[in-house]
């Protein structure tokens, strides 16, 4: 009788723990799919302002977290600009932003770069690489960390 009771208690704990983990995994998947990063818009929104010796470049990225539980914390967004005149090994410019986004929040990130006029004039093809590094966390606990790369050439 005692063995049966202990076994039933363990069985209930296993079931409850399993349900808890499944619920957390499901919500986490939903939250991951609910982060909307406007990468394509960002690559399309790059504005070049040509000056006498330099060119100012501005790119804007919109973020929206439509999830319900997990936060994306310590998110690093790095935007690299490559020119075919220089080669794809070293970027001609890069800018970085770090932020945390909670469920229901929206953010807009603006990246500013300065490129030399000589490189701008000799470039025929630009490549924008947007790298996002982040952690999905709940109450400061790191559930999943990820790195996302988006590349657009124009």
């Amino acid at each position: 009788m005692a063995a049966r009771t202990i076994f039933n208690i363990i069985k209930v704990i296993v079931i409850l723990f399993g349900i808890g983990v499944s619920v957390l995994s499901t919500i986490m998947t939903y939250d991951a799919a609910s982060l909307n990063i406007g990468l394509k818009d960002a690559a399309g929104s790059v504005v070049f302002t040509v000056g006498p010796t330099t060119v100012d470049v501005e790119a804007t990225i919109g973020l929206e977290h439509r999830g319900i539980l997990f936060s994306f914390s310590n998110m690093n967004v790095i935007v690299y600009i490559y020119s075919d005149a220089v080669g794809n090994n070293s970027p001609v410019a890069l800018d970085k932003e770090t932020f945390t986004i909670n469920p229901g929040e929206q953010k807009t990130l603006t990246f500013d770069f300065v490129i030399s006029r000589a490189i701008f004039n000799s470039t025929t093809e630009w490549t924008i690489v947007i790298e996002v590094e982040g952690i999905m966390s709940l109450m400061d606990m790191n559930f999943v960390s990820f790195t996302l790369n988006y590349t657009e050439t124009f």
Binding site: I6, S145, T147, L148, Y150
Partner: protein, 142 residues
């Protein structure tokens, strides 16, 4: 005993559908959209699903009458599940979406530990089931 066999067959069908048949549908959909490639082919997924279903069926059939056999089946099933889970993680660590020019690499930290803990807790439950198998046999009601 007949009731146990019936429950075992139901469990077998349920596990085979959820672990053997449904993942192959997901595999087909994923391949159709070129989202990612599974580590296993369709036949392998079905075979693993079948093994899991047989073990789950045995586990359920002998749950009340022969808890020792049920416990051993349960442990074997969870060992396969653990191995399958790590293979699955390996598969979804690097996700490539070439149509969208996006690559995602994921590191599963606490969520992986929680799932592994859940599997080990289930194995522990089956160890208890084997250890107390004589006491856990259900006496037929008179």
């Amino acid at each position: 005993m007949i009731l146990g066999v019936k429950s075992g067959i139901i469990k077998f069908i349920y596990i085979f559908i959820t672990w053997g048949y449904l993942p192959t549908l997901g595999n087909d959909v994923a391949r159709h959209y070129g989202i990612y490639l599974l580590l296993f082919d369709k036949e392998m997924i079905m075979a693993i699903g079948f093994v899991l279903a047989v073990l789950a069926g045995l586990e359920k059939t002998f749950e009340d009458t022969k808890p020792g056999i049920s416990g051993v089946s349960g442990i074997l099933r969870n060992v396969v599940v653990l191995w399958y889970f790590f293979k699955f993680l390996e598969m979804i660590t690097l996700i490539r979406l070439p149509a969208l020019n996006i690559n995602i690499s994921v590191s599963y930290n606490l969520i992986k530990d929680l799932v592994v803990a859940s599997i080990f807790l289930t194995i522990f439950k089956h160890v208890i089931q084997i250890a107390f198998s004589k006491q856990l046999v259900k006496k037929p009601e008179t």
